[in-house]
Symmetry: C2
Subunit: 590 residues, 2 copies
């Protein structure tokens, strides 16, 4: 007979699988041995991944879940290993990615009495998980009920992780010794387990009353659709259709899923970050109403401008009334609609009249200025004649083929991608960790994407973030993954050079904010068996990136820049863009 | 005028300093700018340290606090950065190390509305900190009260962190923009702040009733003093004096502080891990009573043997009645005394009669067997003629000069140190992270020790642990520290080779427990500007370690071993030791 723990763990895992968990990330240990045994057993239905650092393992699982939209399990042993999962849990909660954290624990009688590797794991993720359960210890005397409990817990965990807004859940699994049983491999994955039937075909639709309210608010008005970051991507075609009927521009954050794809791109604004810097444009371009999907956009100038408007802001988010989030950081929303964005667009389209021709001028104002800004920025970058971090975005964008995924690093890379990544008629997926926007775990998330993506995966990342999660490179070789990293190395925290303390306290700035690390990052690439290439100005770096995207394994293409110079170059390029916007406004008036 | 936030942050930091915080670890960011400005201001009384990875920064601070016994501050920006401090908080709580975690936060009005880098930081460390406060936002209209509140919070934080049992506390500091003020450098560190007067001169003494109870229990009995790990070290001289009067052996965990120093070493047993494996010894060596100081010993054979005895176990721990811990993982204690170990020894000595000569035989039984085991182990190791992980302990112990610190890595290194590190009449400090015994953060803790230790610092660590905290090496070069690392590399989790699954499921064992990483760790050393040396068998590795201890900077001396062979060699060496114990018992009877 299998041990009781083997039976309850088996019931738990089988139930997770029945309810949509296909990927299982294991951080090795002793206490989670029964879980490892079950997940790796012959006939196991899971694709199993190994990671040696639990912090990175959590983010690796997050990367898989973000890419697939499926709940992903990650397990670790008891003790501080569990605490290492908190950063990924925090990010998954805020960026709405379904994770099932399965932490092995000592049994209750070993808790808080000084036993080794025993910490208080019950509730350790506090409000950062959607649901948490401390499972009962397996016991032969009640094994039937305990198996049913474990199966129910697995079903609830997977379903709760996926229910909008998606997020992490925590199953704490106390295990009593012995942890290994000679027969533990023999349980087949076929015992019946309860299955929670979710209803993915019925996303939350706005009520008729809500729809009428929105329809009145948007009818015959100058409006904007604002699309912010969304881990699962926004419904691009539905939003584009709505925009076409309303005659509104779509301001597209790079992580919204609106900039690249086969939907209508004509009304998609990819240079809002520059447009809103020019007052002669923002005056006539002021909307009366906005509809917002996704999280707050990355661009601070855009958010600041929007927050200063006297406009009616409509936030559409299924989490509004679910205690799962509130996406209005500037507190300007007049109407918040708890609905799925796709369902909202369909319902609103049905309730609207055909497009009013009166708005052609409004749309042209935005699109013409956007086109002028894009051309001016491209030209300014092409004419710099020296390494520029924005150039890396342009080169990378040019190299990404249909079906590729680009993972945007936080701090400067995502902002540069916002500024310089163009609309493209290719299905390229852009993702980032914009829940908490930390610089940690970014490489691990990209490795997770690489583990499951159909096409090539690229990561654009800064040097501090790369260094922070250097362990995130480990699975690339272990699991024969392929990842192309564009590493922008300005030897420190380049984004801080945009802060006032750079000029107000120059004596201390570099030591405590600029923080040069002085490391040659080629050694980190060598440690993980990757190829390293220095991207030199003048060389066809887009081709080099394109070649790397075709190769298996790890490629790190490093662009070395200077932090002070980077600020000057950004200001120069933005100035050229703003200038072009100003000219476009004048031309439109003439 | 300085901004209100500068004034409250200044009051907080000044109060921390007044109450014993001398070291301040900064993980750079934007939101914690006012804290960074104050800590690094001209005239700041703090020794300020920089770290680029918050997880490592937490452990680095822990290393400083463990070495100095002082509360150490660590600060980071808002978001997942905060979550990265949890592992060190968990460890500090269980290993009783005083830390003050100062996390910058967005102001309350930015919380839970989708604002960037804003996560739920209030209570994020849950029960893993001794005390937590969410400070009020600075406001000019009530600045006097707010300054006083901040000063009181700083005093309470430092005092609470230090009060036995020491541990971490959490100050969450919401900060509203602007974060930088032109005058923020000008506040002098001299404004009066409340100071909490703790009473370090009055440690908890046992009551007369408790003393009488213990005196009756120990009088004229065969007993053992068991000394387990203690971050701050146990009172070696007082315990040695008590042992001498009682005529009892002292079983010394390597992290108890009892094995190395200028106290009486004659009764200190350093080979208990081997002694208790021999039944002909454990029969006559069975105690009637034990007195236990510190946490549970590292040795599993020892703990298992003790748990099986029909003896009266007395646990002495100031935390017993403070809700701060319970050091009896095998649940065998008959008497738990809430007292400081030093005060307990003094008080008990006063209440005991002079030593009974009847116990000389009892003590000799233990000491003779211990000496025999030690000789046999040393000879067995010397005669192996191939690389052995235990040899690294012997070589390292021989190289450590007076005043040195040895940081013991978890998993195998601390167990090998337990098995093979000898008693020595040199003041060498042995420390480890035995609160939760995780393999994470070990290098960072050693770097923290190196930051403040008077003598040289050595770290003995395994390859998985080294890789897990590779970022922990970063401060060595940044802050011109010196650290000698003895890296035992068996390409995976060597300790798992001692588990039953190695033989019961050999097909899966190496992939999911052995977990070879396949990395050449020289690249990690090169990344951080260290020197790398391969310790070859036959070469005088003790001399190589000794040379490294004299050099500034980072030295990594790597011993490459084989995991399977390691099990066989341990079993061989232990068998020789057990054999010698058996012979010693026979000789004593003859």
């Amino acid at each position: 007979m299998a041990q009781p723990a083997d039976r309850t763990v088996h019931a738990l895992l089988q139930s997770l699988h029945r309810n949509g968990v296909r990927h299982f990330v294991i951080a090795p240990g002793s206490r989670n041995t029964p879980i490892t045994i079950a997940a790796t057993a012959p006939g196991s239905p899971f694709k199993v991944w190994l990671h040696l650092d639990e912090r990175s393992a959590g983010y690796f699982a997050l990367g898989i879940a973000r890419q697939t939209g499926e709940p992903v399990a990650v397990t670790c042993t008891s003790g501080t290993a569990v605490a290492n999962l908190l950063p990924a849990a925090v990010e998954a909660r805020l960026s709405r990615v379904p994770l099932v954290l399965i932490t092995a624990d000592r049994p209750p009688e070993a808790r808080d009495i000084g036993a080794s590797q025993t910490v208080d794991q019950v509730g350790i993720f506090s409000g950062h998980v959607k649901w948490a359960a401390d499972l009962p210890v397996a016991d032969a005397s009640a094994i039937g009920d305990l198996e049913r409990y474990a199966a129910a817990a697995g079903a609830r965990a997977a379903a709760t992780a996926c229910e909008a807004p998606a997020g992490p859940v925590h199953l704490n699994v106390p295990l009593r010794e012995p942890l290994v049983d000679a027969e533990s491999e023999t349980l087949p994955f076929e015992i019946g387990t309860p299955e929670v039937h979710r209803s993915p075909a019925a996303p939350a639709r706005p009520t008729p009353g809500d729809l009428a309210l929105v329809a009145r608010a948007v009818e015959a008005r100058r409006g904007l659709i604002i699309c912010g970051p969304e881990s699962s991507g926004l419904p691009a075609a539905a939003i584009a259709s709505l925009a076409a009927v309303l005659g509104w521009p779509v301001i597209a954050d790079p992580l919204s899923g609106m900039r690249a794809g086969h939907h209508a791109l004509a009304a998609v604004i990819d240079r809002a970050d520059v447009l809103v810097r020019e007052p002669t444009f923002t005056g006539p371009a002021t909307p009366e109403v906005t509809i917002r999907f996704g999280a707050a956009p990355t661009s601070k100038p855009l958010n600041t401008w929007l927050a200063g408007l006297d406009a009616t802001h409509i936030v559409v988010d299924p989490a509004v009334a679910a205690g799962g989030g509130w996406r209005d950081p500037d507190l300007r929303a007049a109407i918040a609609i708890a609905a799925d964005p796709g369902a909202f667009c369909s319902a609103l389209l049905e309730s609207l009249d055909a497009r009013s021709a009166a708005r052609a001028e409004w749309l042209a104002l935005w699109c013409d200025a956007n086109a002028a800004a894009r051309t001016a920025l491209d030209e300014a970058i092409a004419n710099l004649g020296e390494p520029f971090e924005g150039q890396a975005v342009v080169d990378l964008a040019g190299a990404l083929p249909e079906g590729a995924t680009l993972v945007a690093g936080n701090s400067m890379p995502v902002r540069d991608i916002d500024s310089f990544f163009p609309n493209m008629d290719r299905a390229v997926r852009l993702v980032g960790t914009r829940g908490a926007s930390g610089i940690d775990g970014v490489t691990s998330g990209a490795a997770g994407a690489a583990a499951v993506a159909d096409g090539p995966v690229a990561l654009m990342i800064g040097d501090l973030s790369f260094l922070h999660d250097v362990n995130g490179l480990w699975p690339i070789r272990r699991h024969d993954l392929s990842l192309t990293v564009v590493l922008v190395n300005n030897d420190g925290g380049g984004i801080f050079s945009f802060l006032p303390q750079r000029t107000s306290m120059p004596a201390r700035f570099d030591a405590w904010w600029g923080t040069p690390h002085g490391l040659d990052l080629r050694h980190a690439v060598a440690l993980h068996g990757g190829r390293h290439t220095l991207l030199e100005p003048g060389i066809a770096s887009s081709a080099a990136i394109g070649d790397a995207l075709l190769r298996p394994g790890l490629d790190v293409l490093e662009l070395r820049t200077d932090r002070d110079r980077n600020v000057a170059l950004h200001q120069h390029v933005w100035a050229r863009g703003v200038e072009a916007v100003r000219h476009a406004v004048v031309a439109a008036r003439a």
